[in-house]
């Protein structure tokens, strides 16, 4: 893949923050990814589209250290990166917001944000006060409003949960946030808030990879879009050089004469 020329100054002629070269992933006889390459630039929102089973989630799990690639190389800021667990990826500032959100519903918002990275006091005990304080500050930085950081996550709406998951992903100097269909399960009225949150991350110069089926999402927040088809690279373009119907065509595996498609969304 070649980094296509971009008009937006921030993403042009820069070294990618993450680069995948020839990544393949096999699950037994199943080939989930076959020789996929891509790059992500600093401060860029990259959309990833593709039909169900195209390999989007698998590719992101490779990026976030949950899966190991069967073949191919990952580069982080130009250096080869080897992740044995999400912890390794996280150390470099790569965070993933999982499709099923991966929140503990029985626990408070603040506790979820710092799950696995709990603040401790000087005796090594869990520091509840610090986690509440940090959570409040962080949420207000992200302009996420909640009644109280002590609220249990199971009491929240889908959009609020998504916001908490994003807050967790960005709680510690994230450089890259990967979001797997963050709007898929949301009520329409909450979608816009999550998309604005993504813009907010971009303003903070965090790179975002957004997987979505919704063209509205892609065309509202993304700078560039990459299409996967049956586990392979299919197409790629800066947003301003393509159209919704062309991208929908890519999802369905066609590159010719897309103009006629009337519907906006592919489920």
């Amino acid at each position: 893949m070649v980094a296509t020329g971009k008009r937006k100054s921030e993403t042009s002629s820069q070294r990618p923050i993450i680069e995948g070269r020839g990544i393949s992933k096999f699950f037994g006889a199943v080939t989930a990814l076959n020789d996929v390459s891509f790059e992500l630039y600093p401060g860029e929102v990259l959309g990833i589209v593709g039909d169900n089973g195209a390999g989007k989630t698998t590719l992101m799990k490779v990026l976030s250290g949950l899966y190991k690639a069967s073949e191919g190389d990952l580069l982080f800021e130009g250096q080869p990166a080897h992740f044995n667990s999400p912890k390794d990826a996280r150390k470099l500032g790569i965070e993933m917001v999982y499709q099923d959100l991966a929140l503990a519903g029985n626990m408070a918002i603040a506790e979820n944000i710092y799950l696995g990275r709990e603040p401790r006091n000087k005796f090594g005990f869990y520091h509840l006060g610090a986690s509440q304080k940090m959570a409040r500050k962080h949420l207000s930085n992200l302009k996420i409003h909640v009644k109280s950081v002590d609220q249990k996550v199971e009491e929240l709406s889908g959009g609020q949960r998504q916001a908490v998951a994003i807050a967790r992903a960005t709680a510690f100097d994230a450089k890259v946030v990967i979001m797997d269909e963050p709007t898929a399960a949301l009520a329409i009225r909450e979608v816009g808030k999550v998309l604005d949150l993504i813009k907010n991350l971009k303003d903070r110069h965090i790179s975002v990879i957004l997987i979505s089926h919704r063209m509205d999402d892609i065309f509202y927040v993304c700078d560039r879009v990459v299409a996967l088809f049956q586990g392979t690279n299919f197409a790629e373009s800066p947003l301003e050089d393509t159209s919704r119907s062309e991208v929908i065509g890519w999802i369905m595996g066609t590159k010719e004469n897309p103009g006629e498609l009337s519907h906006d969304r592919v489920e």
Binding site: L66, S85, P86, K87, R90, M96, Y98, D100, L101, A102, L103, A104, G105, N106, M107, E111, N112, L115, G116, R117, E118, R120, F125, Y126, L128, K143, I144, H145, V146, K147, Q151, E154, E155, L156, S157, G159, Q160, A163, R168, I188, R189, E190, V191, G192, K193, L195, D196, L197, K199, N200, D203, D216, F219, Y220
Partner: protein
């Protein structure tokens, strides 16, 4: 959220905050946390009232009250360990047998002439060893459910206990060993009654406070709750779930060993049938105390209440000369009711 919508088709324009939706079924929902927290206290209060009315002279005597705590101390030790396992959405069926293994280990050491500190420490250590094996089996052997591994341990521990003891009761322990289970601290005399405080009661309270602090104020404690709430979330958050689970089952076994020490104290004996069915009583106490089998829910105070309820049932029915068969029926019925309440609570809680 950012202020701009830039003419895009973003549905939500009216309100840029993510606010809680108020849900319609208000009353049941608002009562729920209180029932969760204080329901057990109401149950205890009612039981105490009923028992007091039926046995006004005996029931609330200091002697009877301390008796209840002495008798429930073993169950208290087992239940708090079981509670940790249940918090992680697991279970430990082996603790009754593991308790017996701990007792037999202490007994064998005692009659081999080892010094009492070693005898004393052996019971919880043997228990912890069995618990760690449980934990390693559950995580590293990837057993489909802790039920399986601990069921296996239920048989193995009792078999091993009988093997090392020759399958006979080992009787006659020195006071140093029996201290925890039988010693009474004299508090003095008042109005012709002597007031003694059983060490077992003090130990129970200390252990429960320690567990409560551990669960609230240590990273381990919070992670135990998180794993019970959503193990996948815990895993992707970088929590070493296996290590936490192994620790939990290790603690569970350790507490079974402590329970064994208390039983040795009370009976001055390590015997082959010790702890038979004790795991079920511990499960019952946890459930009655509001711990959820789905994991991640329940409090130490609740478990303490569950232990007390179990003790009150036994004590009350004994005082009133009611047959043990009724005790069993009553405990069984309370378990079913308690779990039904848990189911209701979840249904109301997840309704949106």
């Amino acid at each position: 959220m950012t202020e701009s919508s830039e003419g895009q088709k973003v549905a939500d324009q009216d309100n840029h905050t993510l606010e809680t939706h108020t849900r319609p079924d208000g009353l049941a929902l608002r009562l729920l946390p209180y029932i969760d927290k204080y329901g057990i206290l109401i149950v205890i209060f009612v039981m105490v009232a009923v028992l007091y009315v039926t046995q006004p002279d005996v029931f609330l005597s200091w002697r009877n009250i301390t008796n209840i705590f002495k008798q429930t101390a073993v169950n208290a030790m087992l239940s708090i360990g079981m509670f940790l396992a249940i918090l992680t959405a697991g279970i430990d069926l082996s603790i009754g047998s593991v308790m017996m293994l701990g007792m037999m280990s202490a007994g064998v050491a005692q009659f081999a002439g080892m010094p009492w500190p070693i005898v004393l420490i052996l019971a919880p250590l043997a228990g912890m060893g069995a618990g760690l094996v449980n934990g390693i089996g559950i995580t590293k052997l990837r057993m489909p459910h802790p039920f399986i591994m601990t069921l296996g341990m239920l048989f193995m521990a009792r078999g091993l206990g009988n093997l090392i003891s020759g399958g006979v009761p080992l009787t006659g322990f020195p006071d140093a060993i029996r201290f925890l289970g039988s010693y009474q601290i004299p508090l003095g005399e008042y109005d012709g009654t002597r007031f003694n405080l059983p060490v077992a009661l003090v130990l129970t309270i200390v252990v429960y406070i320690a567990f409560s602090l551990m669960l609230k104020h240590t990273v381990l404690g919070r992670r135990i709750y998180a794993i019970g709430g959503n193990p996948e979330a815990a895993r992707v958050s970088g929590i070493n779930v296996d290590a936490v689970l192994i620790t939990v089952y290790g603690i569970c076994g350790f507490m079974a060993g402590i329970g064994g020490l208390l039983l040795i104290g009370r009976t001055s004996s390590a015997f082959p049938t010790a702890g038979t069915g004790a795991e079920l009583e511990a499960i019952a106490a946890c459930i009655i105390g509001g711990a959820s089998f789905f994991g991640g829910r329940g409090t130490v105070l609740g478990v303490f209440g569950g232990v007390i309820v179990m003790g009150l049932i036994k004590n009350g029915l004994n005082l009133n000369n009611v047959s043990v068969f009724y005790q069993q029926i009553l405990i069984g019925a309370i378990i079913v009711i308690a779990v039904f309440l848990d189911v209701l609570r979840r249904e109301i809680g997840t309704r949106k």
